[in-house]
Structures are given as C-alpha cells and as structure tokens.
C-alpha cells in the first residue's frame, strides 16, 4: 500500500528479525520493498547494525549470534550459549554486547569472538551503548532495574531502579539520558545516566516494549495497545497515540530522523511513520512474527 510513493524520505536499509519463520528480512526503505530474506535459525530476535555495516542477530533459542556482511551476503554464527536476546554494538570500538536472558549476564564479543562476560540483573533484555562508547546499559527486566557498566573494564558502576519489567532501552544522541520502556508499569523511565537516577516517568500505553528517538520526540511501541505513543523529549508532554499494526515491538528511526519504523509482530508488517506529521504513511510486508529488537536500521 503506497509504500514506494510514501517512503522516499528516511531511506536506508532495515534488517528485521522474523522470529516466527527463522529469518531476517532486508527492506529497502527508500522503495519500501523487502529485497531479500536470509534464513537464521533459533528464533532470531535482537538485531544491531555495527559501524562497519555488518549486522548482528541473536537467536535466543539456540544461543547463537549471527553476523551478516551485507556486502557479500555471507553469514557466520558464533555459539554463545544461554539465551541471547537484546544486543548493541559499541559505536567506537565495534565490540558487540548480547544480553543473556537465561544466564543473567552480558556477553562481550571482541575481534569477532566471545571475549568476556559481565554479570547483570535478572533477565537482561535491552542493551544500549552511549555514543562515546564508554558506557553500556542493560535493562534487567525481572529486577526492575538498569545496570550501568564501564565499557572498558566491564565494572558495573551503578544499578538504577526503574519501572516494572523494563525491556527496551535507548540513549539520546548526547549520551546523557536513557529512555526505558517498562512493560509492567505501562510507562517510560527517563534516566539521567551520570546521576544514576530516574528524573521523570512518562505514562504510555499498554505493555510498552521499546523507545526510538527522532525529531525531538520519543516514539514508544505499546505492544498490547496496537499503537505508538509519541512524547516531546523536552517537555515530556504526550503528543499523539498513533494506531499501527498489532503487537508493535521493535521501533527505530531513519538516520535523518524523518521516518520511524515499527515492526508489528502479529500483523507481519513494518509501519512507516512520518516523524513530523505523526501519521502512518505506509505498511511494508515482512516475514512472520517480526521483532526487530535493537538498532535495526542501516544507512
């Protein structure tokens, strides 16, 4: 539906983990067309695009981490064990961090091999790294907290209580503030990372899953609300509730901030939101059960 006409702004490529059919959809965001599908076993969920353009994908059911080189189309799998779910890539060092949902630890991949581990809280899910590469955050879902790690030493510098069942975590461009979607308390915790404290709480819809930041706004997927809550980053005032597909989960912004993309787990689509008008301008078909949990958009 109108995908090609509506999606020129934004642009780039989206890598969508389809947990239902063990695949990764490659979507050309300029045309709004799925241009390829790769098979990735183990119920792929987490995804992160690295600074070098490679794409990392977690498979929580098989304990694997797969890396795709889009230039060659080749994939390689690393056996981590446990149940890796959320992941993030250090924008400075290229190190990859995968949260072990079952083992309550953070896997650290350096030089394309499992190099180190750090203990987290219970059921770590989302992972984020500050833009300077110095600090790692994990959302420890079943401990209702964020863990803050020194990226170099892996020392856990702080544990910050947030709302109930934090799942997705995102960090602003300045590296100062984190936004945490709390599945259990239907809100977003706004965290001052340096101060190690929640400075505000933003009510959102039912079962929020993840947060994307674009055009001075926060976009929160409400997985039971079939909607995206939009709030102003400065004032934290609610701006809109946008109807999307069913069970929206992963959410990400285009590099230019003009578009926000939402993976609808039940509907098997990607909703394209105009970040200015706050309207859904296109729906793109992807695989079955898309999660797209992480930084899934490349240039």
């Amino acid at each position: 539906m109108l995908a090609a006409a509506a999606a020129q702004a934004g642009g780039g490529v989206a890598y969508i983990t389809n947990q239902g059919d063990d695949s990764l959809s490659v979507v050309d965001l300029a045309t709004g067309v799925e241009t390829g599908v790769l098979s990735i076993p183990g119920r792929p969920a987490g995804v992160a695009v690295a600074p070098d353009g490679r794409v990392w994908v977690t498979s929580p059911e098989t304990g694997a981490l797969t890396v795709l080189d889009p230039a060659t189309g080749e994939t390689r799998a690393l056996a981590l064990g446990g149940g890796p779910l959320g992941l993030a890539v250090n924008p400075v060092t290229g190190a990859v961090y995968a949260a072990d949902w079952h083992g309550d630890r953070l896997f650290v991949i350096e030089g394309d091999r499992l190099a180190r581990e750090a203990a987290t809280g219970d059921s770590p899910s989302g992972v984020a790294v500050t833009p300077d590469g110095a600090t790692i955050l994990t959302a420890d879902r079943d401990d209702d907290q964020i863990s803050v790690f020194d990226a170099r030493t892996l020392e856990r510098r702080a544990v910050i209580p947030v709302g109930e069942r934090p799942f997705g975590v995102s960090i602003d461009a300045a590296g100062a503030v984190a936004y945490v979607a709390n599945v259990g308390s239907n809100d977003v915790s706004v965290v001052d990372i340096a101060a190690g404290a929640v400075v505000a709480t933003v009510p959102v819809g039912e079962r929020p899953y993840a947060v994307a930041l674009a055009s001075g706004r926060g976009f929160v997927t409400n997985s039971y609300g079939d909607s995206v809550t939009v709030f102003d980053i400065e004032t934290l005032a609610p701006l809109a509730a946008i109807d999307v597909g069913e069970y929206p989960e992963g959410v990400g912004a285009s590099r230019d901030g003009a578009r926000v993309y939402v993976a609808n787990w039940m509907t098997d689509t990607l909703s394209v939101i105009d970040a200015e008008s706050l309207e859904v301008i296109a729906e793109i078909d992807v695989g079955s059960g898309p999660r797209a949990f992480g930084d899934f958009i490349a240039d």
Binding site: R43, A45, P60, G82, E206, Y224, W265
Partner: protein, 181 residues
Amino acid sequence: MYNWSLAALAAAALAVAPMAADAHGPSRQKVTETVAVAAAPDAVWARIGNFQDMSWHPAVAQTTGEGGNAIDATRELRLGDPQGPTIDEVLYKYDAAKRTYSYRIEQVELTTLPVSNYSAHLTVKDGPNGGSVIEWRGAFYRGFPNNDPPPELSDEAVVNAVTSVYRLGLDALQAEFGAAN
C-alpha cells in the same frame, strides 16, 4: 496439563514445579483459529460478546467477575466442575461496534495452561450469506522460562494446547449456530 476436554485434548498430566509467574521463554507464539457459522454476526456477538459469560465454551463451568465489559473488568473462569482449576483474566479492550474484545490472563497454573504473558482477542466478523466468521487469536510465551523445556512445556506443546482450547470453543459455537451456508 489440565484436561480441557477428553475429546479435544489428550494432553498428559504433568508434574510441574512452581515457577515465577512472570518469567517466560524468549519467543512469543501466536495462534489464530476461525470458524464460519450460519447465524448473523449480531446474534453471535450477543452470545459471546459478554466478557462476564463464557458459558458458550464447553470447558468453562462457571464465569464470575466484576466490572462488566468495562476496561479492566475481571473474570474468573472455573473449568470442568466446581472444584476445577481456575483462570483469572482481565479485559483490556472492548469495542461492541467492531464486535471484538481483548483480554489477558492474570493468573493460571502451568498445569492448567502452560502459558505466560498470554493475551487474546475474540472477534465476530461478517461472513458469507449473512453469516458470521468467529476469530479467536492468542499471543503468549511458553511458561517454562529457560532453554530446553521438557516436551510437554515446549513452544510446540503450548501452541497445541491453546489451539485445542480455541477449537473446542469454536466448534461448539458452530454446533450451536450451524455451519455457514
């Protein structure tokens, strides 16, 4: 697992250790089941659109609850007989105009239904020849939270269990309202 119906479910009895109610597996599952019936959508909705009355499902012996069809209304389903196991549910969406409601399970023993973070949607759509299509969809995780679940608690087993529950209810509605013309 609770024997929802001897005919519909031949699930083995399980010995399941208690687990944290909110823990779950990493991969959400979905089930969609439908049935086409001859009765008009409004008639079907009148039968199944009351959140406080699940008497149309053969496995449900009793429905007790509070809040009617308002958001956050609750109900307790008692299965089988007055001593049967229970499922506690909460209504989180209700749209009579669209003939649909959505609810989630607040509390269920894994021996009754081995799910976690379960939500579901019951909808009556227009069918062919003035009839109806009833759709029941669920989204849930397996209740067993770690890797390598025992076979009876695997994703596949849980999907099969939910599918059987839906089929049991939908087939009963087809018997009640007649197959679509």
